[in-house]
């Protein structure tokens, strides 16, 4: 009898200890869209970028304040002429397939992304790169055609794939067989249902604290919140701002906000008669109450823009705000010769929030006599309407309600304000043409001295702000929500979810 008791107790203890040890730490993250690709060189959406960033790493990485730090690189040097970037790569790092990361592997990745025939989506970041050479086992040299100041940001955005895996799976196979050096490794991807990653047990840096992370695309806002309430999800992003009130009293849930690199604005086609006069554009800016906009359209989760670029970006420089002032707006309209306003139209996407935003603009501008016809369009139709115009004269666009996100100031201004980038080339739908601004955008991009660069960009922002080719609305605050048991998961200013130090006390 006694023996049996001892035996049973031992078994019991064994079971307890095993289950105790075996309890793996898992996180479920619910997001609002499907993953499109896991090939880090060929994706353009932030969400796919989030997933890729858990498995892949770049030579440099962004800290939470958007500053750059070496990651796979031990250190780097930029030549005085700004043409040569030399990176020394950390020794002893292996890809998750066991192959070694060295200068050749890095070169292989650069060559792949720069290949014109492949036309991968990240190629646009490296158009100024002349060539990349592996000069020593662990030293790689990147040579540019012309100096290009945002180059470090672009290099940071390139995540390194195992060349062996690329050769094995090919360009298509690599999408579903990711092999990188990151803290997590790929487990499975059930199309439309979930993406599962696991802890990389041989990770070279500090190993993740959770064993498994599952991403679930949950499009419907209400369902995503319900998952958080029931505990089926540990973290959700985005947290729908209009429903924050619904879960505010919940003791198990915490709502988090952070600043973003997203700028929200309305472009004014400066080529159209009514918008040609700077005074009209300024009047419009004075007539729109940005604080009310933040409350009405973004439930308060938006900070008014204080320059053409969001505050989160390096080289942002504050400008005198166009504070809501109807009297001044009316005065300016009168001076411009439109005392009774005019009729125009606004284009935008047909999602609920954007339609609300356009409706808001319509109401605000009615105060100074401008009648705005709100024209929501489905994305594809909208793109066609914008880029279908081959010349500025053909363009039917008056106003475009839109938002833009970029991780450096060059990316946040060039396509939007440089005269070379009017449609169909890119998104300068204000048809804004200012040769001084063009020059400053070009100069800023090649100036490697950061003080001089800051000066150029400050002047550029001031010039654009004064010309007011946009209604400068605001910069989004990113809202996410988590169970209180979830630790150290947060959303970066570019909208990517950071899981580096993720943990759970579930």
């Amino acid at each position: 009898m006694k023996k049996r008791m001892v035996f049973l107790l031992t078994v019991l203890m064994f079971v307890i200890s095993v289950t105790g040890f075996a309890k793996s730490k898992e996180l479920v993250i619910a997001v609002n869209a499907n993953f499109i690709s896991l090939d880090p060189h060929n994706l353009s959406d932030t969400l796919s970028g989030t997933a890729a960033a858990t498995m892949y790493e770049g030579l440099l990485k962004y800290e939470s304040d958007m500053s750059l730090k070496p990651l796979l690189a031990k250190n780097y040097k930029v030549s005085d002429d700004g043409l040569t970037y030399t990176f020394e790569i950390r020794k002893g790092i292996k890809f998750s397939d066991g192959t070694i990361l060295d200068a050749k592997a890095v070169k292989y990745n650069f060559d792949r992304v720069m290949d014109k025939n492949k036309n991968l989506r990240r190629r646009r970041n490296f158009l100024t790169v002349k060539n990349v050479e592996a000069i020593k086992t662990n030293t790689v040299k990147i040579v540019l055609n012309t100096p290009y100041a945002p180059m470090l940001n672009r290099i940071a955005s390139l995540r390194i794939i195992s060349p062996a895996a690329l050769k094995k799976y090919g360009d298509q196979g690599i999408i579903t067989h990711p092999v990188g050096t990151g803290p997590y490794v790929y487990d499975k991807w059930v199309q439309g249902d979930k993406l599962v990653i696991r802890k990389n047990n041989s990770y070279w840096g500090q190993k993740p604290k959770v064993d498994k992370v599952t991403f679930k695309p949950v499009m419907e806002n209400g369902s995503r919140i319900a998952m958080l309430q029931t505990g089926e999800a540990d973290f959700i992003y985005p947290m729908p701002t209009e429903q924050v009130r619904r879960i505010k009293g919940n003791k198990n849930i915490e709502i988090m906000t952070g600043f973003s690199t997203i700028a929200r604005y309305v472009t004014l086609n400066t080529n159209k008669d009514v918008f040609k006069n700077k005074k009209v554009r300024q009047a419009i800016n004075y007539a729109v109450n940005k604080k009310a906009y933040a409350q009405v359209v973004k439930s308060g989760y938006l900070v008014p823009l204080t320059s053409p670029v969001p505050e989160a970006l390096e080289y942002h420089a504050d400008q005198t705000p166009y504070t809501f002032n109807l009297k001044k707006a009316k005065q300016l309209m009168k001076e411009a010769g439109y005392p009774n306003g005019f009729t125009t139209s606004i284009w935008g996407s047909n999602n609920t929030e954007d339609m609300k935003g356009m409706q808001f603009i319509n109401q605000q501008l009615a105060q100074i006599g401008i009648k705005v016809e709100v024209m929501p369009m489905e994305e594809g139709t909208l793109a066609n309407s914008i880029y279908g115009a081959q010349t500025p004269e053909e363009a039917k666009i008056n106003m475009w309600y839109v938002n833009w996100s970029s991780f450096d100031i060059d990316g946040a201004t060039k396509n939007l304000f440089h005269s070379d980038f009017i449609p169909p080339v890119s998104a300068n739908t204000a048809y804004y043409t200012n040769s001084k601004v063009d020059k400053m955008i070009e100069d800023g991009a090649i100036e490697t001295n950061s003080k001089k660069r800051a000066k150029i960009y400050a002047e550029m922002q001031s010039a654009i702000w004064n010309d007011a080719p946009w209604i400068f609305l605001g910069s989004d605050q990113l809202v996410s929500a988590k169970r209180k048991t979830t630790k150290n998961v947060y959303v970066m200013p570019d909208g990517a979810i950071n899981l580096e130090k993720a943990n759970t006390t579930k």
Binding site: V190, Q191, G192, M219, A226, S406
Partner: protein
């Protein structure tokens, strides 16, 4: 087929063979007839998709892309090929079973489709099964109690079932049964349990429709002379309604069920969205938003094939339910 033979009163083997032969011939004929339908549908699908405004290359590359990038992309995607050649590629990929590559994800379409079939199929089956059972039963109850309080009560329920917005019903069920009571998961496709709420949501409207059809057809049939005869010869009411009347009223019901099942197989976008079910409906919508031509074409053609098959099954079932219907 046995019923038909019994009705003929005997075990005439040649008769069975003739019927089976006729049936086989009928099915074969129907299948051959589908070929022109498929060709016409494939042309229509292809043309419609290419007529919607929106350039996949532009949507794929995003507003940040340069013109050069988009030009190369159009070339790679074969969008610069003459339209008949693009159609030809589509047919070739489809009928060789390889289905082609998605413009949006770069993945083989087959890989994207296969995992999405199961959830949609399960959801369709669960919904149609419970909707049919409950619909027929409530329809009968209503018909038998025609004009009484119970009839009104059931029919008011049915009308509400049809008019409830799926979206709202789904979110309400989640709030009550997942968030408050914690009985079912809020979504996903992990096991049978996760299909219960979505099937209820999806089946509610169909059940109401079936109930109404069963009721009206039952009321008609209960007026027939052979029902009076059955009652006159002293059969119990259960036998009269449950056997003689029900079987005859099922013809209408089968038509409705078949039609609805065809639609369900195309996936319900709303229910799949509310319950995060990775089904075909949502894939189709995602693909349309992105102008993922290759995927849209394949999915639509598959839906057409499904409809053809379901229709065929329904037609064959007519014959089983009513031997008077002959296959020619």
């Amino acid at each position: 087929m046995y019923r038909i033979i019994k009705n003929k009163g005997g075990c005439d083997k040649t008769y069975i063979l003739i019927i089976q032969e006729k049936m086989r011939y009928y099915i074969l004929k129907r299948l051959i007839n589908t070929i022109p339908i498929i060709i016409i549908v494939s042309i229509l699908v292809f043309l419609f998709i290419h007529l919607i405004p929106g350039d996949p290359a532009r949507l794929l590359a995003g507003h940040q892309a340069t013109l050069e990038e988009i030009m190369i992309m159009r070339d790679q995607l074969g969008l610069n090929d003459p339209i008949y050649l693009q159609y030809f590629h589509f047919l070739k990929d489809f009928f060789s079973g390889n289905l082609g590559t998605s413009i949006k994800t770069g993945l083989p379409i087959k890989e994207m489709l296969i995992p999405r079939f199961k959830p949609t199929l399960y959801l369709a089956i669960f919904s149609i099964v419970w909707a049919s059972i409950f619909g027929v039963v409530t329809g009968i109850i209503s018909a038998v109690n025609r004009g009484k309080a119970l009839d009104y009560f059931v029919m008011i329920g049915a009308i509400s079932g049809i008019s409830l917005p799926l979206f709202w019903l789904g979110l309400m069920l989640i709030q009550v049964f997942s968030v408050n009571l914690g009985w079912f998961p809020t979504g996903g496709v992990d096991g049978f349990k996760s299909y219960i709420l979505p099937s209820i949501t999806l089946g509610a409207g169909i059940m109401s429709m079936i109930a109404r059809y069963t009721r009206s057809s039952m009321i008609e049939i209960l007026k027939e002379s052979y029902i009076r005869t059955s009652r006159a010869k002293g059969l119990s009411e259960i036998l009269v309604v449950g056997k003689h009347a029900l079987r005859n009223s099922l013809i209408d019901v089968v038509t409705i069920v078949g039609l609805q099942f065809g639609f369900l197989l195309a996936g319900s976008v709303l229910v799949e969205t509310v319950f995060s079910i990775p089904g075909l409906g949502r894939l189709l919508i995602d693909s349309i938003l992105f102008r993922d031509y290759t995927v849209i074409q394949v999915i639509l053609l598959i839906f057409t094939l499904q409809f053809i098959v379901v229709n065929l099954v329904v037609d064959v079932m007519y014959g089983i339910l009513n031997p008077k219907i002959r296959y020619e």
